[in-house]
Symmetry: C3
Subunit: 460 residues, 3 copies
Amino acid sequence: MDTLPSCHWEMLCIFGTGDLGRSLGQRLFQTGYKVVYGSRRPHSCGPLPPGTQVQSMIHVAAAQSARLVFVCIHRENYNFLETLAPQLKGKVLVDVSNNLKKNMYPEANAEYLQRLIPGAQVVKGFNTLSAWALQNGPSDASRQVYVCGNSLEAKQAVIEVATKLGFTVLDRGSLTAARELEDFPLQLFPEWRLPLQLATGLTAFFFFYLLIRDVIYSYVVNDKDISFRIMASLANKVFPIVSLIMLSLCYLPGVIAAFLQLYRGTKYKRFPDWLDRWMLCRKQLGLVALALASLHVLYTLIIPIRYYVRYRLAAHTISQIKENKTSPFDTTMAWRTDSYYVIGILGFGLYLLLGITSLPSVSNVLSWREFSFIQSKLGYLTLFFCTFHTYLYGWDKFLQPSSYKWFMLPGYMLSLVVPSVVLVLKLLLLLPCVDSTLTRIRQGWERTDPEQERKKLLLT
Amino acid sequence: MDTLPSCHWEMLCIFGTGDLGRSLGQRLFQTGYKVVYGSRRPHSCGPLPPGTQVQSMIHVAAAQSARLVFVCIHRENYNFLETLAPQLKGKVLVDVSNNLKKNMYPEANAEYLQRLIPGAQVVKGFNTLSAWALQNGPSDASRQVYVCGNSLEAKQAVIEVATKLGFTVLDRGSLTAARELEDFPLQLFPEWRLPLQLATGLTAFFFFYLLIRDVIYSYVVNDKDISFRIMASLANKVFPIVSLIMLSLCYLPGVIAAFLQLYRGTKYKRFPDWLDRWMLCRKQLGLVALALASLHVLYTLIIPIRYYVRYRLAAHTISQIKENKTSPFDTTMAWRTDSYYVIGILGFGLYLLLGITSLPSVSNVLSWREFSFIQSKLGYLTLFFCTFHTYLYGWDKFLQPSSYKWFMLPGYMLSLVVPSVVLVLKLLLLLPCVDSTLTRIRQGWERTDPEQERKKLLLT
Amino acid sequence: MDTLPSCHWEMLCIFGTGDLGRSLGQRLFQTGYKVVYGSRRPHSCGPLPPGTQVQSMIHVAAAQSARLVFVCIHRENYNFLETLAPQLKGKVLVDVSNNLKKNMYPEANAEYLQRLIPGAQVVKGFNTLSAWALQNGPSDASRQVYVCGNSLEAKQAVIEVATKLGFTVLDRGSLTAARELEDFPLQLFPEWRLPLQLATGLTAFFFFYLLIRDVIYSYVVNDKDISFRIMASLANKVFPIVSLIMLSLCYLPGVIAAFLQLYRGTKYKRFPDWLDRWMLCRKQLGLVALALASLHVLYTLIIPIRYYVRYRLAAHTISQIKENKTSPFDTTMAWRTDSYYVIGILGFGLYLLLGITSLPSVSNVLSWREFSFIQSKLGYLTLFFCTFHTYLYGWDKFLQPSSYKWFMLPGYMLSLVVPSVVLVLKLLLLLPCVDSTLTRIRQGWERTDPEQERKKLLLT
C-alpha cells in the first residue's frame, strides 16, 4: 500500500499481456489503481510493464479479485473465458479489443463476449484509444473515450475509471453500439472520401481538357511550345473551376430537396438515399472547395513574380517603345479588372468566414439560427460573389471566335453551368408564393391530396 | 417490446403533434424510448411520425402513463393543461416551447406553465435545438442542450434523456433562466451588432470622405475622371483606416477603465453602463477589425496584377526612356517603403495570432495569465505595429501642401488620432508610480478619502 | 429569503475578505447562495462586496454555519485556522489560495491546510481562475475549474457549486495534484519556451550570418551599400531557413526514436529524457515553424510592390532598350521558377492543413488513426515539399563560385542539411524489412537477446 501513488483505489484485473494490456496496466498503476494480470499459470504472464508493481495470478483468482476485468485479448481467444463464467458472474467485463478489418465477424466482439458469459455485464470501451494514449494518458487526438453497454451501473464504473485516467467519456448507449465503436479506430475520414474523389476526378478532367485546349492546341496549330504554363497557369485555371463547381454542389442538394418537398407537399417523406448521402457531405464538399480556392488565391498572387509574366510585361513595354506607339489608358478595362479582382476577394473573404464557422468549437457556440444564417444566407452570397467573379473574368470573351479552339468551350464557361443553375433555382424558391408554401411544409404542414384523403376515409 | 431497438427505456409522453412534437417523438422512439402522444380523443392525434410505433391516448391517460411529459404546444394553448393538474402532479413537465418574438409575454412560457400546474416540476429544455436536430440528433451547431428548472431531480431526469439522445447538456440553474433560454433561439449575433454597425458607419463615412477628397476633387479641379479607382484603390484606403480605428477602440475602454479606477481609488465601484457594454464587445470589435485588415492585405497584394498599376508602371518606364533621363536609386526610399511593408506584415501576423487565440477551443486551454498576456501585451504590440505602419505610410506627406485638398486632411491622418491617444495613455499607465498604484487597486486595495472615513465613523 | 435571487441554495462560508474572497462572495451571492464571511470580530470584516447582502460572523460561528468553507487567505495566515479545528471537523475546506512564485514552499498550500486540520476534507479548486472570472463568471479563457482532493464527496460538493456558477469542472484526482494546480496560474507557455528559444537563436544566427555574407561582403568587397535589403530581402531569407530547419526538427526525434527502438529491440525501455522532452514539444516546434513560413509567404508576396524591385525591373527594361538587345525567352527558366513557386505553395498549403488539424477542437473529432495519418504521412509530405522547394531554389547555384563569398556557404544550403538527413533516415525506415521489424516492436514484440535470456533464467 505504501508504494502506491497517493490514492488507494480499488483493484482492477486485466486479461491479456499484449501491447494493449500492458499499456493499460501501466497507466492504471500509475494513476493509483492496484492491477492484477490474469494468466494461465501463476507468475508466468511474461514481461510486465517496467516499473510497475503488478501481480499476476491464475485466471480464476484474478477474476475473483476484482470487480472490473479488462479483456485485452484477441477475439479468437475469447472461448477460454467461458470456463471462467462462474467467477465472472456479476463482474464488469470491459471489452477493449479491436479487429484488423471491418465486418470480419457477424457480431461485434463485445456482443460475442456478452453471449459467451451472459452473467457478466459487458461494457465496450477504451478501444478507440491508441496504445500510446493508453500508456501515456490523454493527448491531442485521444481525449475522448466512448463506452457502451447494457448495464448502467457497469458503465458508470467504467466511466469512473476513464475519468480518473484523465479522459473525457461519451456514453454511446447500449451494447448494440459496440459495432460502431469497434469500427471507429479503423475509419480513415469516411465522410471525406466522396468529396475528395469528386475533387480528384474533376481536377483530372479539367486538367486534361485544358491541356488539350491550351497547350496541345498551341503546339499543333501554332507550333509553339508553351508547356511551361502547365505548372502554374494551367493549375490556376483548374483549381478555381473545380472549386466553384464544388461550392455550387454544396447548395444544389438543398435546392433539390426543397423542390422535392414542394412536389410531395410534405416533409415527412424520406429523401432518396443518394440525396441524403449528398446532404451529409456538404460540409466536406465546401471545405475541399475552400482549400482549392485558397490555392487559387496563392497561385494568383505569385503571378507578378513569375519569370514568364515579368518577361512578357518587359517585352510588351519594349515593343511599345520600338513601334513608338503608346496604347491609351482604357478606363473600362480598369473598371472591369478591378471589379473582377475585388469581387473575387470579397467572395474569398466570405468563404473563409464559412470555413471558420465550421470549426467545431466555433459552431458549438452558435445558436442554430446563427449557424443557418451563416451557412445558408452567407453561403449563397459567397456562391453569388464567386459566380459573378467568374462572369466578370469571362466578360465578352464568349463573343470572340478565338475562344472556341477545336470547338471546345473555355473552362470558365463549363464551370458556370452548375452555379448558375443553383442560383436561378434558389431565386425561384425565394419568390414569395413558393417561399411561403415551403415554409409551411417545413413547419410540418402537409398538402393532402383530396383523392387520397377520400381513399383513407374509405379504408378506415 | 420486441420491435423496440435494443434498450427498453422508460415511457415518455408528448403533448402536441406539431412539427416539434413529431420530430422529438421520432428521435426518442429511434433512441429506444416508448413514446405516447396525448390527444383530445383516443387515437386521433393526427399523422404521427412515419415509421414510429407510438401510441396515442387521451390526455388524462397519457399524462398518467409517463413520468416525463414533453410539452410541445404553443403557449396560447397551455390553459387546457390546467384541467390535467391532478394527473400531472409530481410529474416532470419539459417545456420545449418557443415564442415568435422576444418579450411577447411578461413571464417566460416555462414560468407560466409552472404557475398553471404548481404540483408539477417544470423543466425548460430542448427549445434551443432546431427541429432538424431534434429529429436527426446532434449536428454541427446543435450539440448542446440547455436546461433549467427548480427541481434538481427533475432536471437530472431530463439530462439523462438528452444525454441518451446524444446531446451535451448544460445546466443553467433555476427556472428564472427560462426567459434567457427562450430568447436564445431568437437571437442573431447580439454581441456582434454594435461592432458591425460601427464598422458599417465608419466605412460609409470614410468612403464618402475619400470619394470627395480623391475622386470628386480630381474631377472638379483637374477635370480628370479617376472613378475607376473607387473599386480597389479607394476601398484599400477605407479598410485599413476603419480597421486601425476599430483595433484602437478595443484598447480604449481598458485605458479609460484604468484611469477611472485611478481617479476613484477603488475597483469596487461599478463602471458606467456604456463602458461595461463597450468592454464586453471588445473581442467582436477586434475580430471585425481583423477581417478588415485581412481585406486590406489581399487588396494590397493584388496591386501589381491590376491593369491600372501595370499601365502606370509601363508608362513611367517609357517616359523615362523618351526623356532619356533615369531617376537615380533612392536608398532612403528603399528603406522607408520596405520598413513600411515589413512593419505592416509583422503587425498583421500578430493580429492573426490574436484572432487564433480567440477561437474558443484555443482560449480554453490557456491559463488566464497566458490569455491576458496574449490579448493585452501582444495586443498593444499589435496596435503599436499597425499605428507605426500608418505613420511610415504618411512619412513626410503632411509637409506637402497638396495633401490638404479642399482643406480636408488625408484619411490616414484621421485614422491615427485614436490609436495615438490610446498608446500615449497606455504609456502613462506604464509609468512605475502609476502602475504600482493601479496594481494595488486591482488587488483590492482602496484609497480612503480621510474625510469620508470620518463621516463613516460618525455614522456608525 | 425574499430578497434572494430565485433559488434558496445552501449557505457558504468564506474566510478572507481580500480581493479573491470578495470577488468569490459577490459571484456566489449573485448566483443564489447565502454567503457568510468569517472575521475576527463580529461585523468587522471590512468593506464587503457592494450590493451584496452577506453576513459577517466571527470565525467560529461562520465555520459552524456552513458545510463548505472557502479559504481565500494567504498561506502565511493559515495557522490561525488550527484553533478552529473542532468547528471545521467534517467540513469541506476549499483552498483557493495561490502563491506568488513557484516552489516557495516544500508542500502545496492545500496539503499544508490538510495537515493543519486533518479532520476537514480539503479540496483544492477555483485557484486557476482570475479574480475577474470569479467576480463575473466564466469568460473566454476561464471556463474551466480544476479541482482535486482526497474525498470524493467533498469534491462532488465543490463541483456542484462550480457548475452552478457556470464553470466546467475537471477533476484532477487526489490532493497530490494540488501542487500542479497551484503552479498552473503562474505558468506562461511552458511548453512553448524551448521552441521559441530555438527559433530566436536560429533566427539571430542566420541573420548575422547572412548579414556578413550578403550586406557586409558587398560593402567591403564591392563598396556598395545594400543595407536597405536588411528589412525585407534578408528577413525573407532568414525566415524560410529557420522554418525549414524547425519543421525537420519536428520529425527528427520520431526518426531517432524509431532507430533507438530498432537498436534496443523493444519499445518497453524508456527513451532518454532529452528525447522525451523533444518529442513533447513537436507540436509547438511545428507551429512556430508555420508562423515563420507564413511570414515568408507574405514577405514573398510583397516583392513586386517593393520600390527596390520595381526600380530594378524598370532599370533592366531600360538597359535592354538602350543596348538594343533583347534576351530570348528561356523555357527552362520558366519551368524552373514556376515549379519552385508551385511546390512552395503546395508545401505551405499542406503545412496550413497540419496547423488547422492541431487546433484542439479539430483534433478532438479525429480518430487517432486519422490524426496520425495527417500528422505523420502528410507531415512527411509537407517536409518533402518544403525541402524540394528549397532544392529548386538552389538549382545550379552551388556550381557558381560566386555563391561562396568569403568561403561561407549560402544560407539555403545550411538549411537543407537537417531536412535531407531526416528524409533519408525516414526512407530507410520505410524499407520493407526495417518497417516490418519496427511494426512488430511497436505492437509489443521484443527481440530477446539469447545471452540475456540465459542470464535471466540463471537468476530465477
